[in-house]
């Protein structure tokens, strides 16, 4: 270790503040008990908000992103083009489980991970995107409000396999 680097005079100055803890002053002590948290969890698990109309918006946005990228007719690494496919999928991932579609969250999460690391959009990545899109569409249209059991597992594995084959090919 080169100690000279560490022994030089600090170059940056920063001001530190310890603001008053207003929340603590108002809330007091003791936290919330399990009964309150369980009751709140019941609200989350038993609400009846219909996710399908919102999911359809995200699915359509994702489809538009895929179609626009395909219409280019060439590879693109544009963050904007990737974002148009990725962002609606992030919403599907975030909201799926919250609205009783855990399989949508699972599929979308895998796709988000895939999109985060690919170099560009090309024919292969768009094919994979379409496969994920179709899978999520089926889950939502089929109102599959579970993890899909063995079929869900097989579906996720199949989609994951497509990603893995892509990664193996483009090491």
């Amino acid at each position: 270790m080169d100690v000279q680097h560490y022994n030089q005079k600090p170059r940056r100055k920063a001001k530190f503040f310890s603001p008053p803890n207003i929340l603590k002053a108002k809330a007091g002590s003791g936290g919330l008990n399990d009964a309150i948290l369980d009751r709140a969890q019941d609200l989350l698990e038993n609400h009846t908000v219909d996710f399908a109309p919102l999911a359809e918006i995200y699915i359509n946005q994702m489809k538009e992103g895929i179609d626009e990228a395909a219409a280019l007719g060439h590879k693109t690494s544009s963050e904007e083009a990737i974002g148009k496919i990725l962002m609606p999928c992030v919403q599907l991932k975030a909201n799926g489980t919250m609205f009783h579609y855990p399989l949508v969250t699972r599929i979308a999460d895998r796709f988000v991970q895939f999109m985060e690391v690919i170099e560009c959009l090309d024919e292969e990545t768009l094919d994979i995107s379409n496969a994920f899109l179709t899978a999520m569409n089926i889950v939502i249209n089929g109102k599959i409000k579970t993890d899909g059991a063995d079929h869900g597992e097989a579906l996720v594995e199949e989609l994951n396999g497509a990603c893995m084959r892509y990664f193996d090919k483009h090491k």
Partner: protein, 188 residues
């Protein structure tokens, strides 16, 4: 003895109305006295100016003004009534680069969706019981980004006036344990 959240005012900013209603219901069931809602960052900032809440909970992806822009306005706008207000950012993003960009905009806690009520409560509890110092430098204003404690760090502190020199503890620079703990990045 338990928390009494009746006097607490929370601003909740979320463009998905279903999610907005859900989170509001959860906060009310926690006993929070007042939950002010807004459907995007612009409206959220107007409500922030009008109500000066004790805590802000915002979604990241919103149009036309997202949760990061809202955080930036709260932390830096001269009209902001409380630049130190804790901000919890809700998002579907869990990849490290997104967490870092959120942290750099002055976010206090990061809540990955989907979440359960205990995830939300843990963030709330942490903000109440373990508030962080704020730092103002040339390029940053927000909660201290250095939260990971590394007992084996033997180098000098990065800043001459680093307060953590005074308490015998030393921090390292990456994301704090709490900012991106494994429980944060698992999805359900």
């Amino acid at each position: 003895m338990a928390y009494n959240l009746q006097d607490i005012k929370i601003l909740l900013v979320e463009d998905n109305e279903g999610m907005l209603d859900l989170v509001k219901a959860v906060l009310k069931s926690f006993g929070v006295g007042q939950v002010i809602t807004a459907l995007n960052g612009d409206i959220g900032f107007e409500e922030f100016l009008r109500n000066n809440p004790d805590l802000v909970i915002a979604d990241w992806l919103m149009t036309p003004c997202d949760g990061l822009e809202l955080s930036r306005m709260i932390r830096t706008d001269p009209a902001s009534p409380n630049r130190f207000v804790p901000i919890i950012l809700m998002t579907g993003f869990s990849e490290e680069r997104h967490v870092i960009s959120a942290r750099d905009e002055g976010i206090t806690e990061f809540l990955v969706k989907p979440f359960n009520t205990r995830d939300l409560y843990r963030r709330l509890y942490k903000i109440i019981e373990s508030p962080r110092q704020f730092i103002e430098s040339e390029s940053f204003f927000g909660p201290d980004r250095r939260r990971r404690r590394a007992n084996n760090y033997d180098g000098p502190m990065r800043r001459e006036n680093d307060s953590s020199q005074n308490d015998g503890r030393r921090s390292t620079t990456p994301l704090g344990d709490d900012a991106i703990s494994p429980e944060d990045i698992e999805f359900r």
